[in-house]
């Protein structure tokens, strides 16, 4: 038999930070949206907001435009600071690029 040994070409991966801890429950929480206004976000995020408000007791979902919107703005430090300052328990970011 001929044996061939060779390198895995995928390179090492480094996990440097954990995901944000999940909320134990959405009940009674304040949730915000950060939208890039792409890919039907103008329809999907309001639907998600309505569903959360209907399904989750005590949840407070901020208006979709509570934080800056659009690709030009959502990745800025200012937007991150605004989210932090708002005191929301969670933020949903949508809708990809």
């Amino acid at each position: 038999m001929v044996k061939l040994e060779f390198h895995d070409p995928s390179g090492a991966l480094e996990v440097t930070q954990p995901f944000a801890p999940r909320l134990a429950t959405l009940e009674g929480k304040r949730v915000g949206f950060v939208s890039n206004e792409q890919w039907q976000a103008y329809r999907m995020l309001p639907l998600l907001k309505a569903m959360l408000e209907k399904d989750v007791p005590g949840i407070q979902v901020l208006p979709i435009d509570a934080f800056p919107q659009g690709n030009a703005l959502i990745g800025t430090e200012e937007t991150a600071a605004a989210v932090k300052k708002s005191g929301v328990d969670a933020v949903i970011v949508g809708n990809a690029a």
Binding site: L4, P9, G11, A12, V15
Partner: protein
């Protein structure tokens, strides 16, 4: 999605609820979101990552076969089933082959070049050598590959370039004597295969393997490139510096300020390739022939190519290639590199009415660069901020009929000096031994 989170240092297993693309199109039925909302809520609450923090190093792989050929086939199958191949035969990156390739490095094998986005695989000199070994490369190619990788990793937004649906591919322009030394094509057929000048195919294929295997740009999963042109080998070629008219400067000198004669790699992210029939067909005077050709080039450029928005301020709308015989003739008629760029810039501007009918202003309005957003006030709208953004390269076969336009999606044009090991001359001698004499006088 897994790539995106891994690339920023999170574990590669994000909570996901996957929907078909139809739901994200105008006028779509978004009912599936409502139907699966409990899964979304679960992702926000109960989901946990299955990975711990730390670094996971790749392992050596092993296959056994009844013969070498059988083992080689099994190795190729293993590479494909692990999603590390490109459909063409691969050389398994054995320790011996990788060690041979590493002989072309001026840096130690474990030197880290960066994390290859979006997946974030740690990219070392050895990682490059592994890819080059798989791609059929040789040690003297490694310095060009390493410089190209450095340039890619330094490009702002390279993670998006890897993943975007527009499918940009690196076009690597090599300047300096190394191009001829390693048999990199600058002439006839320079964007395709050439058995006498095989370096570009191997280097470009290795770069693509790195993009896919280390960077995670797997078609339809890690890269949404809808068509993915030029993605077997990208485009790696040399400027024909000997063909530059007197007084014209190499691309790397003009764009990056490198002294003429410096070995360098310059990366543009191109999004397409277009042949432009440049030469006249009848009894044009030399002046008419040149001017008609310039108009045809400008006309190709005068399109609302919104991919070029990415490079509007600092990058480039594309690479215009002039064959050396054309460049020389135009220089004799008084054209300079700058006057060519200025003509192309001035005459590729698009009337805002044409932009509006194509829906282009909306894309300018949402661009992340405020300078680009402000360009919406310009009428006619220039395809880039200034003529100097246009990359003009003298390359191609000795024939006057065509020019070539590589339209770009390139927020930057990154240049890197190529560093070679002290043993480089020996590597070139080995290449002469293995491939035959590489000098021009020996070629067909």
């Amino acid at each position: 999605m897994k790539n995106a989170v891994a690339g920023v240092g999170l574990a590669p297993d994000a909570a996901m609820v996957t929907f078909p693309i139809h739901m994200f199109l105008p006028g779509s039925d978004i009912g599936p979101l409502e139907a699966r909302r409990r899964e979304v809520y679960e992702g926000l609450t109960g989901w946990k990552s299955g990975f711990a923090q730390g670094t996971g190093a790749p392992k050596m792989l092993e296959v056994e076969g009844a013969s070498y050929e059988d083992a080689l086939v099994k190795a190729n199958h293993l590479l494909l089933t692990n999603l590390w191949g490109d459909g063409l035969p691969l050389w398994p990156a054995t320790k011996e082959r990788v060690s041979w390739i590493l002989g072309g490095s001026a840096a130690p094998p474990d030197q880290v070049l960066g994390k290859f986005p979006p997946r974030g695989g740690i990219t070392t000199v050895e990682t490059c050598a592994i890819a080059l070994a798989m791609a059929g490369g040789r040690p003297e190619y490694l310095p060009v590959l390493v410089a190209s990788v450095e340039a890619c990793l330094a490009a702002p937004g390279f993670d998006q370039l890897q993943a975007t649906s527009g499918g940009p591919f690196p076009a690597v322009i090599v300047n300096g004597p190394i191009a001829k030394q390693i048999r990199l094509n600058s002439g006839f057929g320079l964007l395709g295969p050439d058995p006498q000048r095989p370096a570009g195919a191997s280097i470009g294929r290795a770069l693509r393997l790195l993009q896919q295997n280390v960077g995670g740009a797997l078609p339809g999963v890690g890269t949404m490139a809808i068509f993915g042109a030029m993605r077997y080998t990208n485009a790696v070629f040399a400027e024909d510096e000997e063909g530059l008219p007197p007084g014209w400067l190499p691309h790397a000198t003009q764009r990056h300020g490198f002294a003429p004669g410096t070995n360098s790699a310059s990366v543009v992210f191109a999004a397409g390739v277009t042949n432009v029939r440049r030469r006249g067909a009848k009894k044009e005077s030399p002046e008419e022939d040149a001017l008609n050709g310039m108009w045809r080039m400008a006309d190709y450029m005068r399109t609302p190519n919104l991919a070029a928005l990415a490079g509007w301020e600092k990058g480039t709308p594309g690479i215009m290639m002039l064959a050396p015989i054309v460049a020389r003739r135009m220089a004799e008629l008084g054209w300079t590199q700058q006057s060519i760029r200025e003509f192309l810039w001035e005459n590729s501007r698009i009337p805002m009415a044409h932009m509006k009918r194509a829906g282009a202003p909306a894309w300018i309005e949402i661009d992340s660069n405020p300078v680009t957003r402000a360009s919406i006030a310009l009428d006619p709208w220039p395809v880039c901020q200034k003529p100097e953004n246009i990359v003009l390269v003298v390359a191609g076969g000795g024939h006057p009929t065509h020019s070539y336009w590589l339209q770009a999606h390139s927020p930057t044009v990154e240049g890197r000096v190529i560093r070679v090991p002290e043993t480089f001359d020996r590597l070139l001698a080995d290449a002469d031994r293995d491939l035959g004499c590489g000098d021009d006088v020996c070629r067909v």
